[in-house]
């Protein structure tokens, strides 16, 4: 795609050069080189071929704060994504952390023709099915379990908690034996071909299971299944819901029989859930029931919440660390003992950053997944399973 077309398609030519985007951009706040305004400006003026250096292209979190404030509705996220797509096809895509192994595994999934991941993690007492109307899409949790073992976070416990919550509501969800990556990261990093391969096979597997509703505890999976697969031209005959949305649909929080948990808690909105999917209220509804007056909001929340510091496993760096440290301090400042997030990736990033912090309140924060909190409340308030 030509740069001209990218500009046209994302309405970049409407840019007023007002700088609001850069003013709210959390990366720009800490980086000397990154500025969304300048990136657009260079594209419009054709400086350096109009394209930002690969490094700068990778710096964007695609968190979407800028588009919230842009008076001209420039689609900055798509602008970034399209430039990355161009880079992935022709040059060097932006670098990924962890040596790129996570992205590499995603590409292998996209390209490998067969293989099953199995259900080793599923507890014996859980109820699940191979076909049925409701499907639980676990996403990358099994991968995180092996790749981030040293964080002690047990990402798979989140999956077990989701399953328990669904079972607790009387549902017997489908678990796919050949579930693949949702393609979210590959899409946003510019590798649309592999993202499409995943979407096609994923959609076929879900259709084969006969699912009408797909629930996931990962906002990125939901965003991919709901928005990106169709955008990649893959038809989906199902609804994709975040667990919090599904719970909201299933009825008022009281109906779920949630117990009240002691202590104070606050909630970190993930970019995808709050801004891309617009889901702000649903998780809060359950959390308010669970924590009652102990529920606190951080200064920046809802659609104004700030990102957890990295996305799509793109280059994590000193700026990421500063964003995370800031966010953790913000959470601690509410007086909360628990930081709940409804995104497994946000949780991993926070856990990683927390390990290096020295502030006692930050170190004392319990960083939990929304699903784990809900499960505990559903089961009467005793901490269940491990410490997730």
């Amino acid at each position: 795609m030509k740069l001209r077309d990218i500009i046209r398609e994302t309405q970049a030519y409407y840019c007023l050069d007002c700088g609001k985007c850069t003013a709210v951009c959390p990366v720009a706040a800490h980086s000397e080189t990154f500025s969304p305004r300048l990136t657009v400006l260079h594209a419009l003026l054709g400086h350096n071929g109009g394209r930002p250096a690969g490094r700068l292209l990778g710096d964007c979190l695609t968190c979407g704060l800028c588009t919230e404030v842009c008076p001209s509705a420039v689609r900055y996220l798509s602008f970034t994504q399209m430039l990355r797509r161009e880079m992935a096809e022709t040059g060097s895509p932006p670098a990924c952390s962890h040596g790129g192994v996570l992205t590499s595994l995603m590409r292998l999934q996209a390209r490998k023709l067969e293989g099953r991941r199995g259900h080793d993690w599923v507890p014996a007492e859980a109820r699940w099915a191979e076909t049925g109307p409701l499907l639980y899409f676990t996403g990358c949790l099994p991968y995180y379990e092996v790749c981030f073992a040293e964080l002690g976070a047990s990402p798979l416990q989140t999956a077990r908690d989701v399953l328990a919550v669904l079972n607790g509501l009387g549902a017997t969800p489908v678990l796919l034996d050949d579930e693949l990556c949702c393609g979210h990261d590959l899409y946003w990093n510019g590798d649309e071909d592999d993202a499409r391969r995943l979407a096609e096979r994923g959609a076929a597997a879900i259709a084969a299971a006969g699912a009408e509703t797909v629930v996931s505890a990962c906002p990125e999976c939901v965003h991919a299944l709901r928005d990106l697969w169709p955008a990649l031209g893959v038809a989906t005959g199902f609804r994709a819901l975040h667990l919090s949305e599904y719970l909201a649909e299933r009825g008022a929080a009281g109906e779920l029989g949630l117990a009240v948990l002691p202590g104070r808690a606050t909630y970190h909105d993930s970019c995808r859930l709050a801004r891309q999917l617009g889901v702000v209220e649903a998780p809060r509804a359950s959390l308010r029931t669970i924590y009652g007056s102990g529920f606190r909001e951080m200064e920046r929340h809802g659609r104004e919440a700030v990102c957890c510091g990295t996305s799509g496993w793109l280059q994590c760096d000193a700026v990421s660390r500063r964003l995370q440290a800031e966010r953790l301090r913000e959470a601690a400042a509410t007086g909360a003992a628990t930081l709940v997030t409804a995104c497994p990736k946000c949780r991993i990033h926070f856990l990683c950053a927390q390990g290096g912090e020295s502030d006692d309140e930050v170190k004392g924060l319990r960083i939990r997944d929304y699903a784990s909190v809900v499960r505990e409340a559903m089961e009467g308030g005793e901490a269940f399973g491990d410490t997730a």
């Binding site: 990778g58 040596g99 293989g115 290096g356």
Partner: protein, 823 residues
């Protein structure tokens, strides 16, 4: 274009020229391009001549005997001699002795020297005459030989003048043949002559030619290495009155040239050093009825080497301790005995040994027909013209500047026993090296200095932490069979030598393999044009390894890259001859870079994962101000460039010298290029497999490598701790059907346990590969004992058989995504 006008266009071209010996490099200061360790191993530090012990022992362990010998010869022109009679201070320093026994360094050196002789000696390559000046060396003992060879290698014309008929000094004249067979010495001297040193024997300076004559004959500098050829006497009563009393050197020299029959006689040797043992054991061989060694102290204080004493006793020599000679007795002009005081030891004297004092009225007599006084030696400096300003010391030694070996006469330098007093072969050679270096500086008009050696190891740094394993014994001739002067000790055979050499713990940061000096991609020192390397925007030249000449001369390379302007000169072929050589030298701005890790600060999130991974505690976290994360900093003097931290770092903030993460991935792509396409046709599929192995532990001969399955592509990493999971996944993306990683066995890692890290990486990676449904037989990481290249090959063959059964790994596309943007 005539060769002399050739200008390298790139470092690679220059490297090629250096490899083919078509050019050599010179620093502005005149030194050669050098490689230096950051720290030396204890054995090398202990060796007066600086022989690269760890280096050649390592090469022996790998079966690379000729290379090992070449390495030895850089600092020791007499490997066969030293392999037999060196006092081996290296072994005394060997850290292995804390665990079990010191590595048998001396015997290993002997082994390669013998091996070369048995395989048609290659000797020392002829040194090219590159300089007009001639240098005279007086004396052909080890000091003179070392100086002569060094000077010849520096390009001078060198002539050695020797008073006696055959060269070698003490080695030729007095050291007994049962310890040092003369054919060994002769072969080594022939090798030195082969390198271009001229020998003129039977010429005594001061008699046949004077020192001034030498100057008159055009020798621009003179090295005096005349040793201390005369024996000293005890100065006791009766010494001069009776026949049959000798100093040790005269006795040995005489019996060596014309052995006589001493059957029926009694020999008394006075002294406790090496020469006393030689006199006594020679006595045994000459037929003396009884041989007694009379020593004033006890066995513990004897300066002789332990084995000599053991062998002497085995051969029937009797040791008489605490006996102080008092008077020599005789009758009819012949010796009949020695009157001694019984001694006792009191507090240490200035030599550090307990001082013997006579016990009043304890005298006793030992009968003797011949008495040899093995006390000490002195020089004969009568040839030094009085007109010149030489200074002779109290011990008849020639006084020199202790650092540069310069005498007071500007063109004369001295080395060896004549300077130090009676010392050792290796001590004499060490001085010979220094004298040669000073002559070179003198002739080039440069200030005389002595190279600072790499500092010895501060702490115990071992590259391998071995299991207990005793030294491999060498056999010796049965004492009952030792009638003549046949050599007593027997050396190692190939198998024994390789086993013994493998006991070396590779102490110290550098492997000293000097692979970097020739063709190895994996080195600790790199040469690059300034402005290249990690982080540099434009790379005018690919950084390359350049060949490092033999001399171990000073060029410190501590941490930062050092900029140097190198003069290069064409050499070899026609261009080498005549003035053309110097006509068109070129200059090249270069950067010499140590291969150590560095942190890219903007990427570092201060997690400290690297710090935990580093086996050398080379990383610390530093503050960078309020609100900023900590930053990892590599202490380059500790870093050894293994890259284990690089694998641990989640953000690729850690850069390993030249072997960047991206660089390795690029290499994997290159190695496997086209592999995915191979799978188009079914059936006849040849599995393509990537073998990642440790650089150090499995040296493979070409013949062995040829038995690897045809589809094998091999990637060697400095350490398998460096294996990042993405190397494996990238290989699969690039079309590999399987990936096999061979690390060295636990406790044998060249670095600090990279193999353990490999196992951890492999375990979690296997989990992830299972999830994408990759058959387990497609990935394997295994550890093998060091040196078991055959076992690695066998395992890879099995692995490949498994891949055949599993069939081709089919991917939806053969197009690999371009590599991520480099940072």
């Amino acid at each position: 274009m005539p060769e002399s006008l050739w200008q390298p266009k790139s470092l690679a071209q220059l490297q090629q020229a250096l490899l083919e010996d078509r050019a050599f490099l010179e620093f502005p200061e005149g030194g050669h391009f050098v490689l230096q360790n950051l720290q030396d191993s204890p054995c090398r530090s202990a060796c007066p001549a600086g022989v690269d012990v760890k280096g050649y022992v390592g090469l022996i362990a790998q079966g690379r005997f000729q290379e090992a010998l070449d390495l030895v010869r850089r600092a020791c022109p007499l490997p066969g001699v030293c392999g037999r009679i060196c006092t081996h201070p290296c072994e005394l320093a060997c850290q292995r002795s804390e665990l079990d026994d010191a590595v048998a360094v001396r015997l290993l050196k002997r082994f390669i020297a013998d091996w070369e002789l048995a395989h048609g000696a290659r000797g020392i390559p002829r040194a090219e005459r590159r300089r007009a000046e001639n240098v005279a060396v007086i004396g052909s003992g080890p000091a003179g030989l070392a100086a002569a060879l060094d000077l010849a290698r520096l390009g001078y014309g060198v002539t050695v003048f020797e008073a006696e008929a055959s060269p070698g000094g003490m080695l030729a004249q007095v050291i007994p043949g049962y310890r040092l067979p003369r054919d060994i010495l002769a072969a080594e001297i022939a090798a030195i002559a082969g390198a271009g040193v001229e020998f003129r024997t039977g010429v005594r300076i001061g008699q046949d030619l004077s020192l001034e004559d030498l100057r008159g004959q055009g020798f621009a500098a003179v090295v005096i290495a005349v040793g201390m050829p005369l024996g000293r006497h005890l100065e006791v009563q009766g010494e001069k009155d009776y026949a049959g009393v000798y100093d040790c050197v005269s006795f040995l020299r005489r019996e060596h040239t014309a052995p006589r029959d001493h059957r029926g006689e009694k020999l008394l040797v006075i002294g406790g050093g090496m020469s006393a043992m030689d006199a006594a054991r020679t006595g045994v061989r000459l037929g003396f009825d009884s041989v007694q060694v009379v020593y004033r102290r006890t066995r513990d204080e004897m300066p002789a080497i332990e084995v000599d004493v053991v062998e002497a006793v085995a051969e029937g020599v009797e040791l008489v301790f605490l006996a102080g000679p008092r008077r020599i007795l005789g009758e009819d002009g012949r010796v009949t005995g020695l009157e001694c005081d019984r001694m006792k030891l009191v507090a240490a004297d200035e030599s550090g040994r307990p001082r013997p004092v006579p016990i009043r009225g304890s005298d006793f007599t030992l009968p003797a027909d011949v008495i040899v006084e093995a006390i000490s030696q002195r020089s004969d400096l009568s040839f030094l013209p009085r007109a010149l300003d030489f200074e002779v010391g109290a011990w008849s030694n020639l006084v020199t500047d202790p650092v540069t070996m310069a005498t007071r006469v500007p063109w004369a330098f001295a080395c060896g026993d004549v300077v130090t007093g009676p010392d050792t072969v290796v001590g004499a050679m060490a001085q010979g090296h220094v004298a040669a270096r000073s002559v070179h500086a003198f002739l080039r008009g440069q200030p005389l200095t002595r190279p600072a050696l790499a500092p010895p190891l501060e702490a115990q740094v071992r590259n391998r932490l071995p299991r207990k394993q005793a030294r491999v014994p060498a056999s010796s001739l049965d004492p009952a069979e030792r009638g003549g002067f046949d050599e007593v000790e027997r050396g190692y055979d190939v198998a024994a030598a390789m086993v013994e050499a493998a006991r070396c713990m590779r102490c110290g940061p550098c492997e000293d393999c000097l692979v970097c000096a020739s063709d190895c991609r994996h080195r600790h020192v790199m040469l690059a044009a300034p402005g290249t390397g990690p982080g540099a925007a434009a790379e005018p030249f690919e950084p390359v390894l350049i060949r490092v000449p033999a001399d171990r001369e000073e060029f410190p390379l501590q941490d930062a890259p050092r900029r140097v302007t190198l003069r290069w000169q064409p050499r070899g072929g026609r261009a080498a001859k005549g003035a053309a050589r110097d006509a068109a030298p070129g200059e090249l701005g270069l950067e010499l870079t140590p291969l150590v890790c560095a942190v890219e600060e903007p990427l570092c999130r201060g997690c400290g994962d690297c710090l935990l991974a580093c086996p050398y505690e080379a990383i610390r976290l530093e503050e960078r101000g309020e609100g900023r994360p900590l930053v990892a900093v590599v202490q380059t003097e500790r870093c050894r460039g293994c890259g284990t931290c690089v694998t641990a770092c989640p953000t690729q903030a850690m850069h390993p010298g030249w072997f960047s993460h991206r660089g390795v991935l690029e290499q994997i792509d290159k190695l496997l290029a086209g592999a995915a396409d191979l799978k188009a046709e079914d059936g006849s599929h040849e599995p393509r497999l990537l073998l990642i192995s440790c650089n150090w532990c499995f040296p493979m001969s070409e013949a062995l490598a040829a038995t690897l399955p045809a589809g094998t592509r091999s990637l060697r990493l400095l350490c398998t701790g460096r294996v990042h999971p993405s190397f494996v996944t990238r290989a699969f993306e690039a079309g590999a059907d399987g990936v096999f990683v061979a690390g060295c066995a636990k406790g044998e890692c060249h670095y600090g346990g990279g193999n353990e890290r490999l196992l951890a990486t492999a375990a979690s990676l296997r989990g992830a590969l299972n999830l994408i449904g990759l058959a387990p037989e497609r990935f394997e990481a295994r550890l093998f004992p060091t040196g078991s290249a055959e076992a690695v090959v066998a395992a890879v063959q099995d692995f490949e058989a498994g891949l055949r059964r599993a069939g081709a790994l089919r991917l939806a596309t053969a197009a690999i995504l371009p590599l991520e943007v480099s940072l």
